[in-house]
Subunit: 381 residues, 2 copies
């Protein structure tokens, strides 16, 4: 399959590119280094430097003799994106090209507006370019479980059948996000759902939970092919962040009561899910939605696990409850359905103590690099 | 009350400005003439020329000795909008400043992208400017009944109580719009609802149906103070458009089966509703939603009424069913609740034959101006 990976330099984009290339697909990656630039501007750099995208594709070529074509540019620019679509004519598009940090989107007005602009305009351009150049292509869009928020009812897989005053209708499951970033993903869904109905596009929207990990089948043992590993408040997802905090003796930063519960997955499972989505495209006029995670746990449960594994390494891991800088429920009902991808064949990898230890083994080597001041800045919601 | 009217040059903005000024409020109007520019660029000009906004405020001053302050500029520009908010410090903001045409938003990619950008960025800037300069001010936002689409269940007033698997939650009523323009209004609601929850803003979102009419208490008999009257496919709402078609012998353009049903209101009722919203602000942290229309009828019913009134004028009004250029249900359930504004005291004006005749009396004088080619271009959805 000819696949275009938008945001191919990112934490998930690059591992996805290698994985699909290894699977025999013809891969083009596109990125404008937005994430790298923001990390540098905000002094929230990753744990170790990674080669730029063009260098990464050369390393991949050397290792596997397989080609990943890199294109650097801004997908908000129609002249650029139309050229990319016209010259590559993909069968499928994997769209990760968004400003991905919730705290960054809440940092200040400029960060908020750039998140709205980037995320909405790229999604709109992807829709217009698909319609113009490859109307039968399958768009695989990375959404987020955060679109749903934490409602007091079970979260269904994308849709909700409502019975009201004796009549029935099926709606998109009502969305109520907890950050501006997550709200832009809600808007993406609004936009995709509109154009699926109007233009018959084929779209899979993956409502993904927080991802952890570094190693995949493609980069195991080859650190030059690792993704960014962020541990800072802006870009560090909570599992990765807690593991780094444990290694440097920085108390695990639990916000408020710590009962915040989410659905998590290993980076290897993201790759499985994207493959399953690509292998099982929706029909025309269909917006297919999967809830993409394999298990749920609370921040407190996670902190306890990281503490326990840290002890095996002789680390004295403390847990510190901070006044929550965010407006969010700290103790809530959470029961999201996630059967769609399992039915397609997903084999879950769970967050065992061994998995935490595996990540710890890698990051311990780099702990000298940690910039403690970036771990908690208290961006207020 | 000090009131800022954004989009104060528009079909509703200018009548609102005069009405609130007559009511003793201190009014500033802001506009960038986006609507006038698009009308000219697309050769979809209004039935008669109206003075520019600065001239209008001078005419108003002369007639009433009351001042409406005009400011011309683009609310997408933070330097401009922050200056407007800082210098006026309004108690309330009436936000009409959006690209308001559904067909224009579907015309081509550039029109689509400019609709997304303008509508989202102005709404975001209004939120940021309110937070920064007047956090206690009341934002009255013009939404649209079109956000809900035409679901198979009763449309409640903004919210839906869902019982699911034995648990309960209250959600924003699920939205599923029928054009890109209407989808940007859904996104506006997403954004407002997010910042209401995060920052405690006070917002009223008025889900308005199609508006008709020209005359208000403030401009009756004084045509220099009339709003734009558009009859073209892009900017002409259906009642106004059918009345013009009747006067020039152009068959009434019914799309498809003509069973499309919507909730309508007289421009005088828009003014009543905005007044009621301003006089009854929500609490902090509250997004108050009203469904703003007074009666529902189908396109076929409307065509029949206009035909009947036309006969009284000796006009031979034909009705022509055209192949529908839009993707929409042409025959559907439609039962939206609209009690909120009635409970606050709205006294509805209905679309009687006399009201149609009143509009016809005015437009007959200008029928020589009609550009027939702009009535139907068949913008495809």
């Amino acid at each position: 399959m000819k696949i275009l990976i938008l945001g191919g330099d990112g934490y998930l984009g690059w591992p996805t590119a290698m994985n699909l290339s290894a699977g025999g697909h013809d891969i083009t990656v596109v990125d404008n280094y937005l994430r790298r630039n923001i990390s540098r501007d905000e002094n929230s750099e990753a744990l170790f430097a990674v080669p730029n995208l063009i260098e990464r594709t050369k390393l991949w070529q050397k290792k596997t003799n397989k080609t990943i074509r890199p294109i650097i540019g801004d997908l908000c620019d129609w002249a650029f994106i139309s050229n990319v679509f016209e010259s590559t004519r993909p069968d499928a598009i994997v769209h990760y090209a968004e400003q991905p940090s919730a705290p960054y989107s809440m940092l200040n007005r400029l960060a908020a507006m750039s998140t709205i602009r980037n995320n909405l305009e790229v999604t709109a351009n992807v829709i217009f370019a698909t319609k113009e150049f490859v109307p039968d292509a399958h768009i695989v869009k990375l959404g987020t479980m955060g679109e749903y928020g934490t409602p007091n009812i079970d979260i269904e897989e994308g849709w909700l059948d409502v019975e009201h005053k004796g009549r029935k209708e099926r709606f998109l499951f009502p969305r109520q996000a907890g950050s501006l970033y997550h709200t832009t993903k809600v808007m993406d869904t609004d936009l995709l759902w509109f154009y699926v109905r109007m233009w018959g596009l084929k779209v899979t929207d993956l409502m993904q939970g927080p991802v952890y990990g570094l190693e995949t089948d493609e980069n195991r043992g080859d650190e030059t092919l690792f993704p960014f590993f962020n541990y800072d408040e802006l870009f560090g997802t909570v599992v990765n962040r807690f593991i780094i905090q444990a290694t440097i003796g920085y108390p695990l930063t639990v916000y408020g009561k710590g009962g915040q519960t989410r659905g998590y997955l290993d980076i290897k499972d993201t790759l499985q899910c994207v493959n399953l989505a690509l292998e099982n495209p929706p029909e025309e006029n269909e917006l297919r939605i999967f809830n993409q995670f394999v298990e749920t746990f609370s921040v407190n449960e996670l902190a306890d696990r990281v503490q326990r594994v840290g002890k095996q390494y002789g680390l004295d891991v403390k847990i510190k409850s901070l006044q929550n800088p965010r407006k969010e429920l700290e103790d809530h009902y959470y029961n999201p359905v996630h059967t769609g991808l399992l039915e397609l064949g997903l084999k879950p990898n769970y967050l065992t103590d061994d998995v935490i230890a595996g990540i710890m083994d890698i990051v311990l080597k780099y702990r000298k690099n940690v910039n403690e001041s970036s771990i908690f800045r208290g961006v207020k919601w």
